[in-house]
C-alpha cells in the first residue's frame, strides 16, 4: 500500500525524470557522471536551489514573487560595495547584512500583500523595478565589485568543509530546515492550510495575514542569502546580476509539482524541479548542442517536463479511480 502511494506520487514521477535525464546525459557524455560534475552543478545553481525553497512557501499560500532576483542584486550589491570600500571585511557580517536586507525587502513585499491587499504579482512586480533600481543606485551608477575588491569574502565560494563546498552545505542546511518545518511543525501545516483554503484556515483560527507576511519575509531572507552566495560563487557583484532568474526559480517550483493556486507542493518536489532546471543548461553544451539552439531546446524541455508530468498525473489519477471503483 505504501509502495503504491509512493509510485503514484508526483515526486516519484519527477524522480524518474531526473534519473532518466541524468542517465541519458551521462551515457552520451561520461563527463557528467562524476561527483565533481554534480557538486559543480549544485554550486553553480545554488541561487536557484535556495530561492526555490522560498518560492515554494510563497506559492503554497497561492502567491508569487518576481522581485526576488532584484532583492538578490540589491543585497549582493550592498555587500559588494561595502567590501570594496573597506567598510566591512568579515564574511559573517557580510552574510548577516545580506540576510538583513533581504528580510526587510521580503517583509515589505509581504506587508503590501497581506495588509494592503495588493495582488502578489503586482506587489512583487513593483518591487522588482524598485529593488533593481536601488541596487543600481547604490552601485554608484554602475560600479562593479570584483574578485580583488571582495577580499576574503570570495573564499566562501571555494572553501570546503568535510569534503563538500561550503555553498553546498548552505543548500543542504536550508533544505533540511525547510523539510522539517514544512512536514512536522505547526507553521508548516498552517502554510498548507492557508493555501488550500484561506477562508477555512481563517475560521479555524490561523492568522492568514501573518502567514502570508511570514512566507514573503522568508522568501526575502533566502533571496538576500542568495545575494551573498551569488557574490561569493562568482566573485563579483554587478547591479544587473541574476536578472530574469526569478523565472527559473518559478519554473523549478512548477516543474517540481508546486501548484500556482496554492496548497500543493513539497520540499522534495522543489528540489527535484530545481535539479531539472540546473541540469538543462549544464547538459546542453555537454551534448554538443549548437549554441544557437540551446535556448529553444531549454524552452522545449521545460514545456515537455510539465506536460509529461500532467499526462502521467492524469494516468495516475485514472488508475487510482479505477482501483477505487473495483
Amino acid at each position: 500500500m505504501k509502495l503504491k502511494k509512493l509510485t503514484g506520487s508526483r515526486e516519484f514521477l519527477l524522480f524518474i525524470i531526473v534519473i532518466a535525464m541524468f542517465a541519458i546525459v551521462s551515457i552520451i557524455n561520461p563527463a557528467f557522471f562524476s561527483f565533481k560534475a554534480v557538486t559543480d552543478m549544485l554550486r553553480n545553481n545554488a541561487v536557484t536551489l535556495v530561492m526555490a525553497l522560498g518560492m515554494l512557501g510563497v506559492m503554497l499560500v497561492g502567491g508569487i514573487d518576481i522581485s526576488i532576483t532584484s532583492t538578490l542584486a540589491l543585497s549582493g550589491m550592498a555587500i559588494g560595495m561595502l567590501l570594496k570600500y573597506g567598510h566591512i571585511s568579515s564574511t559573517l557580517v557580510a552574510f548577516l547584512i545580506t540576510m538583513g536586507i533581504g528580510t526587510a525587502c521580503g517583509a515589505l513585499v509581504g506587508l503590501l500583500i497581506s495588509r494592503a491587499g495588493v495582488p502578489p504579482i503586482i506587489a512583487s512586480m513593483g518591487f522588482m523595478y524598485i529593488y533593481r533600481a536601488m541596487g543600481y543606485l547604490i552601485s554608484n551608477g554602475g560600479e562593479w565589485a570584483s574578485a580583488a575588491a571582495l577580499g576574503d569574502f570570495k573564499n566562501f565560494g571555494t572553501e570546503k568543509l568535510l569534503g563538500l563546498s561550503k555553498v553546498i552545505w548552505v543548500i543542504i542546511v536550508c533544505y533540511i530546515v525547510f523539510f522539517i518545518v514544512m512536514k512536522w511543525t505547526r507553521i508548516g501545516r498552517q502554510i498548507y492550510a492557508v493555501g488550500s483554503n484561506a477562508e477555512a484556515a481563517e475560521v479555524s483560527g490561523i492568522k492568514v495575514k501573518n502567514i502570508k507576511l511570514l512566507v514573503h519575509t522568508v522568501m526575502g531572507f533566502l533571496a538576500g542569502l542568495s545575494g551573498a552566495i551569488q557574490v561569493a560563487v562568482y566573485a563579483s557583484a554587478m547591479p544587473n546580476m541574476a536578472q530574469g532568474g526569478e523565472m527559473d526559480v518559478i519554473a523549478a517550483c512548477v516543474i517540481g509539482g508546486v501548484s500556482m493556486s496554492g496548497g500543493r507542493g513539497s520540499v522534495i518536489g522543489a528540489l527535484l524541479g530545481a535539479l531539472i532546471m540546473a541540469m538543462i543548461p549544464k547538459a546542453l553544451p555537454l551534448l554538443h548542442i549548437d549554441a544557437l539552439w540551446q535556448n529553444m531546446i531549454k524552452g522545449v524541455m521545460i514545456l515537455a517536463v510539465v506536460v509529461i508530468n500532467v499526462i502521467l498525473q492524469r494516468v495516475a489519477n485514472r488508475n487510482a479511480l479505477a482501483r477505487r471503483e473495483m
Binding site: 503586482i122 529553444m296 524552452g299
Partner: protein, 332 residues
C-alpha cells in the same frame, strides 16, 4: 478574492457617468491631467508636437495591453508576448526582404503572431490544469529561441527596402496613423469587454471559473480565442516595431509583457481576475506613456523611471485599499 479591493469597480452595471467620475477611472483622469501638468513643468520639450512624434514606439505596446486586459480579467497571464513580437518582427523582415508586397507582409506578420498565440492557446486548453505562467514562460524562451536560430550569427536583420515600413510611420497632419489604430482598436476592445456577451463571459471566468462552466460558459473555447488573439496583437505590435527600427533583432520586444501588464494593472484591471475595465487600462496606458516621455526628455535615468513606475504601480493598487480599510475603521 472578490470584494477585497476597496475600489468601486465591479462588473455589476452602474450608471456609467457616475462610474466615470467617482470610480477609479475618475482618479486616473485626474492623474492623467496631473502627469501632463507635471511633465509640462518638468520638461521644456514637452509639447504636442514632440509628444505625437515620440508616442508611436510606446503605442505599439498598447496593442498588447488591449488583449492582455482580457487575459488578466480571466485571472490569467501571458508572458510570452514579448518573444512573439520578436519572432513576428523577425519573420516580417525576412518576408519583406524577399520582395513581398507590403499588405502581404503585414498579413504574414499578423499570421506569425497568431500562430504563436495558437501554440499557447492549444497547449493551455488541451492541458487546462497547467498554469498559464509556466506554459507561456516556456514558449517565451521557445519563440525567442526560434528567432535566434532564424537570425543566426549576428542576431540582427535589416530591411533591404525601407519604403513600405516608412509608409506605416506616416501621419495625418501631425497625428501618426498608429494613434488612430490604437484608438479604434481600444474602442472595439472596450465594447467587447464591457458590453458584449463575450465580455461578460470573460468576467464570469475570472470571477469563478467553476461556476462559469456550470452555467454553460464554454471556458476553454473562450480561453482559446483570447490567447490566439493575444498572438495577433503581438503580430500587430511587431509591424510597428519593425517600422520604428527598419529591422529586427534577438532583443526586440524584451520586457513588453511586463509593460503591457503594468499598463493594465495601473488601470485597475486586477490580476486576480474578474475586475477592472478597458477604459481604465487605456487611460493608464496614456498616463504611463506621457510620464515616460516627460521624464525621458530630461534624461532621467532609465532605472529611475522604472523605479517610479514601480512605485506608481504599487501605490495605484495599495492606496485605494489602504484608504478603503481606513474609512471602514473610522466608520466603526
Amino acid at each position: 478574492m472578490a470584494g477585497k479591493s476597496g475600489r468601486s469597480i465591479s462588473n455589476i452595471p452602474e450608471s456609467p457617468i457616475k462610474k466615470l467620475i467617482f470610480g477609479w477611472e475618475g482618479i486616473l483622469i485626474l492623474v492623467f491631467i496631473g502627469v501632463n501638468i507635471f511633465c509640462k513643468w518638468f520638461s521644456e520639450y514637452y509639447n504636442m508636437f514632440n509628444l505625437l512624434r515620440q508616442m508611436p514606439v510606446y503605442l505599439a505596446e498598447v496593442f498588447l495591453m488591449l488583449v492582455m486586459a482580457f487575459i488578466l480579467v480571466m485571472g490569467e497571464i501571458d508572458i510570452s508576448v514579448g518573444s512573439t513580437v520578436c519572432l513576428a518582427a523577425t519573420m516580417a523582415c525576412i518576408i519583406a526582404n524577399a520582395g513581398t508586397p507590403m499588405p502581404l507582409v503585414i498579413l504574414a506578420t499578423l499570421a506569425v503572431g497568431t500562430c504563436c498565440g495558437l501554440v499557447n492557446a492549444t497547449i493551455l486548453t488541451r492541458f487546462s490544469e497547467l498554469p498559464p505562467m509556466i506554459v507561456t514562460l516556456a514558449t517565451q524562451i521557445i519563440f525567442r529561441g526560434i528567432a535566434e536560430i532564424v537570425l543566426g550569427s549576428g542576431g540582427s536583420i535589416a530591411l533591404s527596402d525601407t519604403a513600405g515600413f516608412k509608409a506605416i510611420n506616416g501621419k495625418i497632419g501631425s497625428v501618426p496613423y498608429i494613434l488612430f489604430i490604437v484608438v479604434i482598436l481600444a474602442v472595439i476592445a472596450a465594447i467587447i469587454l464591457g458590453k458584449s456577451t463575450f465580455g461578460r463571459k470573460v468576467y464570469a471566468i475570472g470571477t469563478n471559473r467553476l461556476a462559469a462552466r456550470y452555467s454553460g460558459v464554454a471556458v476553454q473555447k473562450i480561453r482559446f480565442i483570447i490567447y490566439t488573439l493575444m498572438g495577433t496583437a503581438a503580430g500587430l505590435c511587431a509591424v510597428f516595431m519593425v517600422a520604428s527600427s527598419y529591422g529586427a533583432n534577438t532583443t526586440t520586444g524584451t520586457g513588453f509583457e511586463m509593460d503591457a501588464i503594468a499598463m493594465a494593472v495601473f488601470g485597475g484591471i486586477s490580476s486576480t481576475g474578474g475586475k477592472g475595465n478597458m477604459i481604465g487600462g487605456i487611460i493608464s496606458a496614456f498616463i504611463i506613456v506621457c510620464l515616460r516621455i516627460g521624464l525621458g526628455q530630461r534624461n532621467v535615468n532609465g532605472q529611475v523611471i522604472l523605479l517610479i513606475i514601480g512605485v506608481l504601480l504599487i501605490a495605484a493598487v495599495a492606496l485605494p485599499n489602504i484608504f478603503g480599510s481606513l474609512r471602514k475603521a473610522m466608520k466603526k
